[in-house]
Symmetry: D3
Subunit: 159 residues, 6 copies
């Protein structure tokens, strides 16, 4: 097995995609936050009066997708055409699921942009809740779906 982010001598490179034609690319990544149930209740109930935790996290995720080339050293700067971040909340289980969708007409995939969006959204929820809940865990950061490009469609099977 070899890694295509290194050349034949083992040196890190930004892989040459100049000969590839742009195609429509979509990627969906997920992340899961596990918090105390009462923290999730406070997030849900407080939305209007006490502060919109998930609204802040959603914006951080969208902005995070745009910062991907600054964060991931060998990633290509891409012209993102769509970013969305959604949350599914299960207060009784103390669980918040995040889905980040990214689309672009580009020469290489947008998996890292979707992964970064989901992750930064999760970190931002963590930041706002850490004062009262230090045991929060972020898990299940994974690619859920991708489409477009030579390697075709990928759909994660349920874990």
């Amino acid at each position: 097995m070899s890694f295509n982010h290194f050349d034949a001598s083992g040196n890190a490179i930004m892989v040459d995609v100049s000969q590839k034609n742009p195609t429509m690319r979509t990627a969906i990544a997920g992340a899961v936050l596990t918090l105390k149930p009462e923290t999730v209740h406070a997030i849900v109930e407080g939305k209007v009066a006490k502060g919109d935790v998930l609204g802040v996290a959603r914006l951080a995720g969208i902005a995070g997708a745009k910062r991907t080339p600054d964060l991931i050293p060998l990633s290509h700067p891409l012209a993102l055409h769509h970013v969305a971040v959604d949350f599914q909340v299960d207060a009784s289980q103390g669980r918040i699921e995040i889905r980040a969708t990214v689309r672009a007409f580009e020469r290489t995939g947008v998996e890292m942009e979707a992964m970064t969006a989901a992750t930064v959204a999760a970190l931002t929820v963590y930041d706002m809740c850490k004062g009262s809940d230090k045991g929060i865990v972020i898990s299940d950061i994974a690619l859920i779906f991708k489409e477009g490009g030579k390697s075709g469609t990928f759909q994660r099977t349920a874990p």
Copy 2:
């Protein structure tokens, strides 16, 4: 329960820390990558000849810590005085554990910087291995230890 990143009207703010005295702050955060065992073998064996995956990820994590105020909307810009990112690899289990340590003499804690460093390091490993292993999962992103500041020391108990 209320969130201190919002004011009494529920509006997001960067919390006022101007009246706090700087103290020495340390935070350690962790993350775990689950990959195919053969991917981990390739990472370990290929280090010298095929490319240093973990070396790239370590640098990305350190740089990521410095980008925290750009990523986490309500975080304070802090003068980081130390950042380190370490890996513990268990190839037979297909498992890479990441530990990020951040230290600063500051008015507020460096938890988010440590969390961001661990996370960006994990995303970078993912980026370099995703070509041959699409099922990689990042999990167990959590605060492991913190010290300094009014809320004192926190040590995560084993999960």
Copy 3:
């Protein structure tokens, strides 16, 4: 009259503040958006169901304050200790007033950070409303109050 951002030869410099002692600095800047009354009504009424325009703009303003040294060429990088952005809405007049407050214990003032926060918040409201209201105007971007430092307190008199 001369400008202290240039040296005796007229060359731009980042002014030397190394000999100044840090003091507590506060600055409040304002901006005004003039929109169609129906646009302001839609912002106010749609907050919960249709999207929180002012919530997005508030976060953009706070993040904008942190980007000040990247935007204003001769400004110093400062350790901001507090940022808040507030809105006062008069729907019948089609008017949204923005107030941005910044505080830091620093060697130089935080006026530019407050001005930038107010301005970026205003530009973000503009961005979200420009689809249906192309005649929006941003005005009255000005320093309202400052405190701290050698030049003392400034309070803008009503225009």
Copy 4:
């Protein structure tokens, strides 16, 4: 009235422009600085010997246009093909008018890039003059002209 930066549930999104074809886009935005007449005289007369205030502000505006996707949360990263910032100075009236022009062959308009360029140029003039003139006001930030894209040409009528 609804806002296209939010989805049907009221969640902020980066709007999907992947299905749009790129077309040539031009936008011109304006801003006005009101200063003491003697400040404007000092700017004009000092250009060569005392420091080129407007030259610094022009560069800040051009750089600001490039930072738009970092500042405006739901904006798309665009490949800018032309940016220019011009000043019209009326010293007797204490008035500096700014015009920022941006052009790109893109899937969405460049209004925000032009608005940001004009605004950052104005803030930079403010920064350099605030030492001797605390009452400076920035106003009339507005779109003056746009061309290209489905919504066609817009020309602001004189206020």
Copy 5:
């Protein structure tokens, strides 16, 4: 002789390239570090056990290429499709030669991206070695080769 980064009035602009068609562009830039021979020996011998100085510098150079539009005021933001940074080491002469290659299908050349990559890689080597070798000099930063675009191919003749 005039400079195309200024308009007819001598004002700095980002040159309008919107009417140019994208073509394949390649640029190679070089830089040379002169260090004490023992410093170069330590770099070469220490790679595995003591730390991979050139590996860190390579990543910094690649990341630096992506930061070019933030650093060079009148440069265009470009979609880079390939970046590589290589080193040729002559320990007995205390000399490290850097070659940075950048490729993109774009409306304007990628010379500045290659120059920036080579330079940032050199500065990063400097940073890591300055503790024990304060006399390090970086020289010979120059364009070595370019291809693509109206001005055609350029090949530097040996100095």
Copy 6:
């Protein structure tokens, strides 16, 4: 010889400076541009009418100093208190000397900030002149002077 940017296992770290006391730090770095004499003449004579090449480069250098922690992977984010960039021009020799001075009251030195300022200023001159002079070379990037901190004063002897 070992490098203090790596730990005992050879892993890259941001060195821990949290136990150091801040002291006043100054660094001066230099760079030299070698151009065709007629290019230098055009720069000098064109300043007012055709465009201020060195004025643009000076601002880029100052801004570059502020970007140092983004560019140099293991550098600490520092609160810069003074940055200046000066040019000495010898048109007949086709030579422009750059001097960048940086000062800060900090826990670690500002050499990299001065080196980066000088280098980015040189690259920016290159960018503006490369259209008519492809053979420009940047050389002699070196530390000229530093003061403050445990290692004391350094003064480069003439090369």
